[in-house]
């Protein structure tokens, strides 16, 4: 075999290996592409059955209740179409708030309650000083009242 052919073969083999590697990476990647499911998808049964998964959405306003033991909380996750009740025992992240984004990992119990073992706060891409946020909130309320 001429050196040139050998080189060509080497490149072809390297490319084939790379392609194979990329396929594996993408395959592994696919299972994580859907980081969370929305409440609507939960009700439509589009979630993995009998195994842990994540749900994401907003924490429904006025839904946060603390149980008597002090560490177990219940709240509802909403995508403004469906609500899923969630139960979680543990410390909530700093940014966890009603009306804000949340991603919870866990599984559905037979009563239709999502029992979470991890709760993550999902914040948005807006950055502003507190005074500006208050002004926006005031403006929003005025607009809502006038409608």
């Amino acid at each position: 075999m001429k050196p040139r052919h050998k080189r060509l073969l080497l490149v072809v083999v390297a490319l084939a290996l790379l392609g194979l590697g990329a396929t594996f990476v993408l395959k592994a990647f696919r299972s994580n592409l859907v980081f969370f499911y929305t409440p609507t998808e939960v009700f439509a049964g589009q979630v993995p059955q009998g195994q842990a998964f994540r749900i994401g959405g907003m924490v429904l306003e006025d839904s946060l209740k603390r149980k008597d033991d002090g560490v177990t909380v219940r709240f509802a996750v909403t995508d403004s179409i469906e609500n899923v009740p969630v139960q979680f025992t543990g410390i909530l992240p700093d940014l966890f708030q009603e009306g804000k984004g949340v991603v919870a990992q866990g599984r559905m119990d037979p009563q239709g309650v999502f029992v979470a073992d991890q709760v993550l706060a999902k914040h948005d891409e807006n950055y502003m000083p507190p005074e500006a946020a208050e002004a926006l909130e005031r403006a929003r309320k005025i607009k809502m009242e006038s409608e």
Partner: protein, 225 residues
Amino acid sequence: MAVFFFLLASILTVWGLYVGFFVAPTDFQQGESYRIIFIHVPAAWMSMLIYLIMSFWAAIGLIMNTRLSSMMAHALAPTGALMTFIALWTGAFWGRPTWGAWWVWDARLTSELILLFLYIGYMALRASIEDPRRADRASAILALVGIVNVPIIYFSVQWWNTLHQGASVSLTKSPSMATSMLTGMLVMALAFWMYSIAVSLIRVRRIIRDREANAAWLSDSSGVQ
């Protein structure tokens, strides 16, 4: 010339950090933890940009068979890897207090981690091939294959459900940040840019020198026999 870029980088860093820590106000949701943004976002931008420029030079080297462009690609890789590492590290230190987790396997974080592996793979491949011209060609192919990852990183927050929030600054909409916060971030991005240019210039000079010394030594030793 590198000195000039270092100087620019230093001035911009002082300015950027001053704006970031003393002018920019507290954030309404994240409090002071958001100040990590002034290095996180510039590092993440640079990690992607350097990969694009590195692949560009690698491709030119492969197609036109020019040594200098391959050496440029070679010189950019370590800085790109460093920027990726900084983006991942600061991201973890930002994710912990805000999301409640150091790391999650969402599409944005996973693809940025793959970028770090691509940089490391590129450098390892180069190091494993003794003949620099062959190393140029093999690593160029790796760089070009890996380029598909860059748009995946950038658009992951739009294409899929991720924990990572969307872009605050993009070409398609006005920035969703208070002006002084945005100023601090953009100045720091410029500082990172200047730093990367300075470091790559010095490194490419070293690479040129080493390669020429090596080539001269090779021709010398063959001349003796």
